[in-house]
């Protein structure tokens, strides 16, 4: 290649990579925050109480002869791995959500989904629907979790 072509290539490549770096920066900063959170386990626990107030509300409406049904949700593929949940439905009420598959593309995403899944479970059991807030820092896992669950609820006719 001629020197001019090489110069253009180097300039173009540097500009492209710099642009891509800027576009990807928000996610990188998010990742650094998450890494810091995961290093100090106390901060993960401190987020928990925000949604524990409404715990176990649906259980009180259970009739005398409960009919329990377990429905598989859809498999949802995300950037960080696949997600699938099972909905446990007792007499038309969502009583439990079991995550059979959670995002696992990296150690960080495993730690994140382990953090996010209980929070999501509590929220959907309380709301009896998938219209709940996603867990910050685990947007992909949350959305996939809720999508899979919605599919299970649709299948169960809820």
């Amino acid at each position: 290649m001629r020197p001019l072509a090489i110069t253009l290539l180097v300039i173009g490549s540097t500009a492209t990579l710099a642009g891509a770096w800027l576009v990807g920066q928000p996610r990188l900063i998010e990742a650094i925050d998450i890494a810091a959170q995961l290093e100090s386990p106390a901060s993960v626990h401190s987020e928990r109480p925000t949604s524990t107030a409404t715990e176990s509300a649906p259980a009180s409406s259970a009739p005398a002869r409960p009919i329990t049904d377990t429905v598989d949700g859809s498999i949802v593929t995300t950037k960080y791995g696949t997600v699938q949940v099972q909905a446990v439905i007792t007499d038309g009420v969502l009583t439990d959500v079991i995550a059979t598959k959670l995002t696992d593309s990296s150690d960080t995403s495993i730690a994140l989904s382990a953090k996010a899944a209980p929070l999501l479970r509590e929220q959907v059991l309380a709301a009896q629907s998938t219209v709940v807030d996603t867990v910050s820092g685990a947007t992909y896992t949350s959305e996939a979790y809720l999508t899979s669950l919605q599919a299970a609820l649709d299948a169960a006719g809820l």
């Binding site: 072509a5 990807g24 920066q25 950037k79 696992d104 593309s105």
Partner: protein
């Protein structure tokens, strides 16, 4: 007299202008293609970074996975470049020539394989770290997780088969068809490896720019392979309805084969180019043989001159003149279009004189002076001699025929006698520094001529070689 001389000068000036322009165009195209190839690697990394890929390098435990993804991206990019180089895209052939494109294709094979192997190993390790699994259980978990992953594992298995069998073939010199059949497996492997890239999360998730970019690259390169290697050659062969019309013996094991067909001018073949030939003779049908034209194409017939080196070229020489012929081509930059100077030196050895003979027929009418050097160990190995003598009758052509064994123990492209007389490339060719040198012969001999040309001070763009026909 003076009027004639002026006409020559004017023609020569016009040609000089043409040559410079053609050379600049070719350089620009070649730079553009090389630049695009490098830039495709940059885009792959940029899409990874733009997706926040740098996040894999925040925590030490994720780095293995991040590196594995990058290795996969680079490996796929190289595979795509390899596919395009092998696709006979006319732009690539015109810019760098078929043999340089294929040489690059072969050079990229090993890095691509090692990158994909690294992708496989690093992701098993990386996911294993994340899930606390040993590599074997993680590999098992991967291979059974989705059908797409099973395909990907099968793809890697196929590549391993290809590599092992290529080594065996080199050792035992198995038949070309067998090599080709096994080589086709790599295309199957590439196709089997595609689905997991799009379905297994990571970068190519639905709706992302990366998904469209990579999908377009795969569709584009597989389409150009199909179009330029299968559809166009087949359509051309059928349209021109090529048939062998004559087989003329040139020497005991050498024959010229004449092929005729309809509208041959539309093939736009140039003197010095080659086709890949498939002859519809029993036992020859699926073998493609690269043979250069041994006469300048005149729009009515094509001629090749074949020496029986393998069992199939033997069968070809003995064939009856009737069979249908399928061709891929024309390919190659061994033509007057490659000229960068106004004079030409054409050098051929053995059966490598065939494209030289075709090229001479055109070159003598466009170059100021043409020096032809033919080399053979004995008289009987100098082919197409009468053709050369007829073409060299023109005033601006000088023909040197050098027959005799090379000196023992000293590598030289000349004969012992010629060396003793003090001959080199510069003594044989007047105006060598203002010439293009076209060389066709056995690889080692060709390298020696190239060396001589470089020693004489010629620039790389003045030296042209054709390695197929020997």
């Amino acid at each position: 007299m003076t009027g004639g001389a002026q006409t020559v000068t004017r023609r020569s000036l016009a040609r000089h202008h043409d040559i410079r322009r053609q050379f600049r165009v070719r350089l620009r195209r070649s730079d553009l293609l090389q630049g695009l190839a490098w830039f495709s690697g940059v885009i792959a990394i940029a899409l990874f970074l733009g997706d926040g890929g740098a996040a894999y390098f925040v925590r030490p435990r994720d780095i293995t996975t991040g590196l594995g993804i990058l290795a996969g991206l680079m490996g796929s990019d190289l595979i795509l470049v390899m596919l395009l180089l092998a696709s006979r895209l006319p732009l690539i052939d015109k810019a760098v020539g078929y043999d340089r494109a294929m040489a690059t294709h072969r050079r990229l094979a090993k890095p691509a394989f090692f990158l994909l192997l690294a992708h496989f190993a690093l992701l098993i390790l990386g996911y294993g770290i994340a899930l606390d699994l040993d590599p074997l259980s993680q590999a098992l978990r991967f291979s059974t997780s989705t059908p797409d992953m099973a395909f990907a594992f099968a793809a890697l298995g196929l590549v391993a088969i290809v590599i092992v069998s290529s080594l065996v073939i080199v050792r035992h010199r198995l038949k070309y068809q067998l090599w080709f059949g096994i080589h086709l497996l790599t295309y199957a492997a590439v196709v089997l490896g595609i689905p997991h890239q799009f379905s297994e999360g990571s970068l190519f998730a639905p709706g992302t720019a990366a998904r469209w970019y990579w999908a377009a690259l795969y569709v584009g390169s597989l389409a150009s392979l199909t179009i330029f290697r299968i559809i166009i050659p087949l359509a051309r062969s059928l349209r021109h309805s090529l048939r062998i019309t004559a087989i003329d013996p040139e020497a005991p094991d050498v024959a010229s084969i004449t092929v005729e067909g309809r509208h041959l001018g539309r093939l736009r073949a140039r003197a010095g180019q080659f086709f890949i030939w498939r002859f519809a003779q029993p036992g020859l049908r699926w073998e493609g043989h690269p043979y250069s034209l041994s006469a300048a194409p005149d729009g009515k017939q094509l001629r090749i001159t074949v020496r029986s080196l393998g069992d199939s070229s033997r069968r070809l020489i003995d064939a009856a003149p009737c069979g249908r012929v399928f061709v891929e081509g024309p390919y190659g930059l061994f033509t007057t279009r490659a000229c960068t100077e106004q004079n030409a030196v054409l050098i051929g050895a053995g059966i490598g004189v065939t494209p030289v003979c075709a090229l001479l027929a055109e070159m003598k009418d466009v170059a100021d002076t043409v020096t032809v050097i033919l080399r053979a160990d004995e008289d009987s190995e100098l082919y197409l001699r009468s053709d050369f003598e007829r073409l060299a009758a023109q005033a601006n052509v000088r023909l040197h025929i050098i027959i005799g064994l090379p000196p023992a123990g000293q590598p030289s492209w000349l004969s012992e006698a010629a060396l003793e007389q003090g001959h080199t490339l510069s003594t044989l060719a007047a105006d060598l520094d203002r010439s293009d040198v076209f060389i066709c012969g056995p690889p080692r001999w060709t390298a020696l001529v190239e060396e001589d040309a470089r020693t004489a001070g010629l620039q790389p763009q003045q030296i042209h070689t054709e390695r197929f026909n020997w």
